[in-house]
Assembly symmetry: C2
Homo-oligomer: 154 residues x 2
DNA sequence: TATTGTTATACTCTATAACTATA
DNA sequence: TATAGTTATAGAGTATAACAATA
């Protein structure tokens, strides 16, 4: 096949992916903002399924540790988590999500991933085909959680 | 088909798209930064294929007009574009990309879109299949240029 | 009066550096 | 001495409001 046609097709593929991603992004932003969270706050909360120290959370999210303080302050003030001083090392704060926090996490997860409609135009067979192709395209690559894609976004 | 299995598969599809997008994002950021541009500067420059006024540029990029001043200042200082006062309305500055600016635009476009390797794991037949499926999934949706997806990113 | 662009200002997100309490 | 967390501060990106020049 002609090289130009090949590269033109690949360009088209990238553009198609970007359109789908753009749609997902708008959907995800709407969900986060409906939960009255910012992106950094949502990213932090969604990481806390299992308790972490502030330092561990910073490392997971690739934030400097100095930023975690105010993010955790806000989430704690909202009653979504609690700081507990680690009895075995009194420097460490373990972050424990409250019952209310767990509800917020569960709702956000469900809405963002399950109510995404990026492939609503496809029937069941086509979705299966698409999934097979994308699985092959992705190979061994992995990503962090969806919300962490959005770091630094408005 | 069981509803849970259906929704689990859709979740998987979203995750696959996000992994591919994440790879593209890293590639695009590397290209922008190799061109010694920030995302807002790249977004502005890439919009100026055909000359616009500052106001028109702000509207295209969905920026408040007050931000355009410093972005255009920087690009002009770099010699990538020129402000020309519109002779028919002396309030308006038309933004004209220089020859050097056109070179930067062309290189950036080519590198970002043509050197993207999001589907390098697929053979020719699979790419064609994928393109057909994505075209159907996208339907009538469109997006702005790729770089505008990245507004507000680091 | 309305519009283009500029300036001043403020807010969010993020990083660096200096500090404290604890180890 | 080294580490967890906090505070102060700075810089980038973006928005709002007031202003000057022009229409």
């Amino acid at each position: 096949m002609n090289v130009d046609v090949q590269s033109e097709r690949d360009t088209k593929l990238v553009e198609l992916l970007l359109i789908l991603f753009d749609q997902f992004r708008e959907h995800a932003f709407a969900c986060i903002s409906a939960a009255d969270l910012s992106i950094p706050h949502a990213a932090a909360l969604l990481r806390l399924d299992s308790p972490l120290s502030q330092r561990e959370l910073a490392d997971c999210l690739k934030y400097d540790a100095s930023n975690i303080t105010s993010i955790v302050d806000t989430l704690a003030r909202r009653g979504l988590l609690e700081r507990q001083i680690d009895p075995t090392d009194r420097r460490v704060r373990r972050l424990i999500v409250t019952a209310e926090g767990r509800t917020v996490i569960a709702q956000l997860r469900q809405r963002v991933l399950e109510e995404a409609t990026v492939v609503s135009e496809l029937d069941e067979h086509e979705r299966a085909q698409l999934q097979a192709l994308l699985t092959k395209a992705v190979g061994r690559r992995t990503t962090s959680t969806w919300v962490e894609l959005f770091r630094g976004w408005p």
